[in-house]
């Protein structure tokens, strides 16, 4: 039953979205409201869960990465060759993917497309009459690129119809509440504690089970991912769940000067070139596909060029006629949201990015790993599920893959949560634990002084973002970075100070990012090879003899991270690489 809802913000924020309850009771609590979270809630309702609550530290759906993404999605239809598509995905994921999960997501993707269409989603055709486009870096995979719903496009068009369905299913929404800790009782999940980022009030949740759909962790280096601060990673870790693939940190390229990013792979397809400080092309010296290499490979190559003293600065030459025609006649007529606005805003400020080569460089995105789960998306902690990019399925992804994956995991987690609730029944929360977690949530605001969250985040960025830690790693650079992160952890986190609820949430985010950084560095040190997003300059080859393994991280004695390796069960899976070191 829901507690006594009251608007605790006065009249100055739309009251419909702001509720503060001392204790909210529900069967299922979904934390996060992007595509993974929303689809979890919907799937749980479809499967008979009566009480579902979705909580988000931003707005429901409207602050999510899902809404801001391009919305391109891979759907494997009846006439598509699922085996070829699986092979391309698994190879691109360095054979570290959960092949059982990828098979399931491909085989169920078309049903989700039909369902989305029944709610009003449609895909705009290209001028040559197709609703699908080839996926960059793949020969066979295709994606539906131009989603539309009412007057919306891109990720907004994907999120909006699902949100409508969830709302119609009497799911309760709580926005602007950051979950700071999970509650357990008798070995299973029992609820969560959160804090409202405008009022600073705490909100307890009693829940039979929880789906973490809190996205992944970036370090605030790119637009649209600043809200991804590894919240679910730490919640799961503290609850006794394992994480894996944490050594894989995604990257892309963009302008260091302007908010202009994440389209360079598209631009390269229309003749755009990356240049080093000497205004020379360089990608051809490193990769057969030259400027059309995958974004992470371009970012890693930029690190190599920096190591050789050939940069910075880098440039992206977008002056070619093919790109300018594409931009004018196709991109600007079909792109939406952030993707379109970043070009429009430049024009309004008198900047023509196609007029001369623009300064360019690598950008860090988010950690690819996350919560290790079973096929039903349940973690090692009974009653704790993970969906979206909070879950670990693979260490890499092509365009359109992530959107397919997060909808799959949401659907699967919601259904499994319904089964779990049927089997296990109600739970109780430990009141003492609840009160302690409430005090912990507010601790940074109880201090009269201390370390500001911005100080922690700034120091962390200075450690993680340099190319020798984020893109081109060595044992020495990682050890040095780890020592610095441990220093931040021991010397700054205990004294985090917040003078208002906004800073309080940021203090929790800073803590989560520090822990995620530590996991990233420890796992990066352990994997003595290069694979996909993980580039060790001191171990530059992919080692399939020793490293077809996952690195798992769990909470060990005294709360310290305990790392272990787990063989990828390739004998059980259908696809295996040739066992040689290349």
């Amino acid at each position: 039953m829901e507690g006594n809802n009251k608007d605790c913000t006065g009249s100055h924020v739309r009251p419909k979205s702001i509720k503060c309850d001392d204790l909210v009771e529900t069967d299922l609590l979904v934390i996060g409201s992007g595509l993974g979270g929303l689809w979890s809630a919907l799937s749980a309702r479809d499967n008979g869960v009566e009480n579902v609550v979705v909580v988000d530290k931003g707005a429901i759906a409207d602050s999510s990465q899902s809404k801001m993404c391009a919305g391109a999605t891979i759907y494997c239809g009846p006439r598509d060759n699922a085996d070829l598509w699986l092979g391309e995905l698994v190879r691109q994921q360095g054979y570290l993917s959960r092949q059982d999960m990828v098979i399931d997501m491909l085989s169920t993707s078309y049903a989700r497309l039909l369902r989305l269409k029944s709610w009003g989603l449609w895909y705009k055709r290209t001028p040559w009459g197709s609703t699908t486009l080839p996926v960059g870096g793949a020969r066979h995979l295709r994606m539906n690129a131009m989603a539309r719903f009412k007057d919306l496009g891109g990720g907004s068009a994907l999120v909006a119809p699902i949100k409508e369905q969830v709302k119609a299913g009497d799911v309760r929404f709580y926005s602007k509440i950051m979950i700071t800790s999970l509650l357990k009782n008798k070995g299973r999940i029992a609820g969560a504690m959160g804090v409202h980022r405008i009022t600073g009030k705490t909100v307890g949740f009693k829940a039979g089970c929880i789906v973490l759909a809190t996205a992944d962790c970036g370090f605030r280096n790119s637009a649209c991912i600043g809200q991804a601060t590894g919240d679910g990673f730490l919640l799961a870790y503290d609850a006794g769940a394992r994480l894996n693939n944490m050594e894989f940190l995604g990257s892309n390229t963009g302008s260091p000067q302007y908010s202009l990013e994440a389209f360079a792979d598209l631009a390269a397809g229309y003749g755009c070139k990356f240049l080093n400080a000497g205004k020379e092309t360089f990608m051809g010296r490193y990769a057969a596909s030259a400027d059309r290499a995958e974004p992470f490979r371009i970012a890693q190559t930029m690190a190599d060029e920096m190591e050789k003293g050939n940069a910075p600065p880098f440039y992206l030459d977008m002056t070619g006629l093919r790109w300018r025609l594409f931009l004018k006649f196709l991109y600007k007529r079909n792109a939406t949201g952030f993707l379109l606005r970043m070009f429009e805003a430049l024009e309004e400020h008198g900047v023509d990015p196609t007029g001369r080569p623009q300064e360019w460089g690598p950008l860090i995105r988010t950690i690819r790993g996350g919560v290790r789960t079973n096929m039903d998306c349940m973690s090692d902690s009974p009653g704790l599920f993970a969906a979206g990019t909070a879950q670990s399925v693979d260490p890499a992804g092509l365009n359109g893959y992530s959107t397919m994956r997060v909808m799959w995991s949401g659907e699967r987690a919601g259904r499994a949560a319904a089964g779990f609730l049927n089997d296990i029944g109600d739970t109780e929360i430990d009141r003492e634990d609840l009160d302690q977690k409430r005090r912990d949530a507010l601790l940074p605001m109880k201090r009269k002084s201390g370390v500001h969250p911005d100080t922690v985040i700034g120091r962390l960025q200075n450690v993680i973002l340099p190319y020798w830690v984020s893109l081109r790693k060595t044992e020495a650079s990682l050890r040095s970075a780890l020592a610095e992160v441990e220093s931040i952890r021991y010397n700054c986190l205990p004294d985090l100070y917040a003078h208002d609820p906004h800073q309080l949430v940021k203090a929790h985010e800073a803590r989560n990012m520090v822990l995620a950084a530590e996991f990233y560095l420890r796992a990066s040190l352990k994997r003595n090879e290069t694979r996909g997003d993980h580039y060790r300059a001191d171990f530059p080859k992919t080692d399939n003899k020793k490293w077809l393994k996952w690195i798992n991280i769990e909470k060990g004695e005294a709360g310290r991270p305990l790392l272990s390796t787990e063989e990828v069960p390739l004998q059980r899976y259908g696809l295996q690489p040739e066992l040689k070191t290349r």
Binding site: H12, N221, I225, S259, P312, G337, Y467, H502
Partner: protein, 69 residues
């Protein structure tokens, strides 16, 4: 980075306060209008500018974050 919020235009609908992923805005209880409270947290995602029903918000395309170097 967020550059301006036109108080002559703002109708106090609260959309920017609600949707900003980085929690940059607050409502001023006296004026019942939105204001930029935490500009340093802006990630230049343009969501506020795109969603504001009366185009009262302007975001400068200049970036304000660190990068690998």
């Amino acid at each position: 980075m967020i550059s301006s919020l036109n108080k002559d235009k703002c109708i106090g609908c609260g959309t920017c306060v609600e949707i900003c992923p980085m929690d940059v805005f607050r409502m001023n209880p006296s004026s019942r209008q939105a204001e930029i409270a935490y500009s340093e947290d802006c990630q230049t995602c343009y969501q506020c500018e795109l969603e504001c029903p009366i185009t009262a918000i302007e975001v400068d395309p200049l970036r304000g974050v660190a990068r690998p170097n």
